[in-house]
Symmetry: C2
Subunit: 203 residues, 2 copies
C-alpha cells in the first residue's frame, strides 16, 4: 500500500489549497497537518528540518521533501499525472505553455497580487494603490482574456495543474480582475464547480 | 542547420540575462533583439503577438513562443539540456529539488527583492524598508546557507539552470544577503567566473 503523502499547512485556504486540490483531482491519499504558528509549531526543529524557512506548505512524499506551492504542484503532476495534469517534456509546445503559466501564476500574478495588499494608511496611499491595482489587473487581462475567451482551460490540451494554480491565485484580485470580466467570471465558475476543488475546500 | 533562437529583451542586464547565460552554457545559436521601450517597440502589434503584456524577455524557438524568464530557462534546459542542466522527471529527488529552486528563485526570492526596491521617501519609510530587507535576507539565508556551505551548486547533482536563476537574482540583495556571508560570497564568485556568464555579459 502506498504510504500517505503528508501535507503541512496552516489552514485550508492558505497556499496549501492548490496542492490539496491537485491531490484530490488525482485521488492520491494524503494527510493534512495543520500547524499552529502561535504555538511555535513552524519553528520546531523537526519542522525546520523539512522547511528551513519555517513556512508552509511543505510536502513529504516518502523520501521526497519539498516546499514552494507551485513546485509541489509541478512535482505531483509530473509524478502522478504526467501526460495529463502536466504535459510530457517531449510534447514541447504544451509543456512550454504549461511551464509558462505555472511560472507566470507565481512570478507575475501572485507576486503582484501580494503587493496589492500592502498595508496603506493615508487617503493618498489608498488612491495610489487602487490605481496600481487597476492598472496591473488590466495587464493580467491582456495575458488571460484572449485565451479564456476561446477555450475552457489555460492549455489547449485541457485541464491541468496550471488551471489549479491560476484559479487559486486569481481570486486575490477578484475585484479588479474577475468582476465584470465575462471570460474570467466563466472560468472561475467552471473551476469552483470541480468536485475535487469542493472536496479540498478551496473556495 | 538549426534556425537561430530569437531572444527579445531590453538590455543585457535585465531578466533576459539568465536566458542568455543558459543559451551560452549550452552553446545554442541565438539572436538578441534589443527593444526600445521609448520608441514603442514593446507595444507594436507584432511584438504584442509574441508577448501580449508587452514585457521582456520573450523567446521564439521555431514554433515555440514563450515568456517568463524562469519558464524560458526551464523550457531551454528541458529541450536542450535534459538530464544535465535540468534533471530528468524520473530522477524524482533531483527533479523535485530543481523545481523547488526554480520556483523559489522567482516566488520567494525575486518577488521579495523587487519589494526591497519599492520607492520610499520619508526617513521613517527608509527605516522600515531597511528592517524588512534585513529580516527577509535572514530568511533567504536559512534556505541557502546550509546547502551552499557544503556543496558548490544548489543541486547535489551539480551545476544546473537553477544556479543560473539564483545567481542572476541574488545580486539584487547583495548588501543584505551576500556581503559578509562567506557561503554566498564564494558561490557568487564561482558563478561570475563561468565563461558562459562572461560571454553573456551577466555581471
Amino acid at each position: 500500500m502506498q504510504k500517505k503523502i503528508d501535507l503541512y499547512c496552516m489552514a485550508y485556504q492558505d497556499r496549501s489549497d492548490r496542492v490539496r486540490w491537485l491531490l484530490e483531482e488525482l485521488k492520491i491519499p494524503y494527510q493534512d497537518h495543520f500547524l499552529k504558528k502561535a504555538a511555535g509549531e513552524m519553528d520546531s526543529p523537526a519542522y525546520r528540518q523539512l522547511n528551513p524557512m519555517g513556512r508552509t506548505p511543505t510536502l513529504v512524499d516518502g523520501d521526497i521533501v519539498l516546499f514552494e506551492s507551485a513546485a509541489i504542484c509541478m512535482y505531483i503532476a509530473d509524478t502522478y499525472g504526467y501526460g495529463s495534469f502536466a504535459p510530457k517534456i517531449e510534447d514541447r509546445q504544451a509543456r512550454a505553455d504549461y511551464t509558462k503559466w505555472m511560472i507566470w501564476s507565481v512570478g507575475s500574478l501572485e507576486c503582484v497580487i501580494a503587493r496589492m495588499f500592502t498595508h496603506v494608511s493615508t487617503e493618498e496611499e489608498k488612491k495610489v494603490t487602487h490605481a496600481f491595482n487597476k492598472q496591473q489587473a488590466e495587464i493580467f487581462k491582456l495575458a488571460l482574456n484572449p485565451i479564456l475567451s476561446k477555450q475552457d482551460y489555460i492549455l489547449a490540451s485541457g485541464f491541468s495543474a496550471a488551471d489549479i494554480m491560476l484559479a487559486t491565485i486569481i481570486p486575490g484580485a477578484e475585484e479588479f480582475l474577475v468582476k465584470g470580466n465575462p471570460p474570467l467570471e466563466a472560468y472561475m465558475a467552471r473551476m469552483m464547480k470541480r468536485e475535487a476543488a469542493v472536496r479540498a475546500k478551496v473556495f
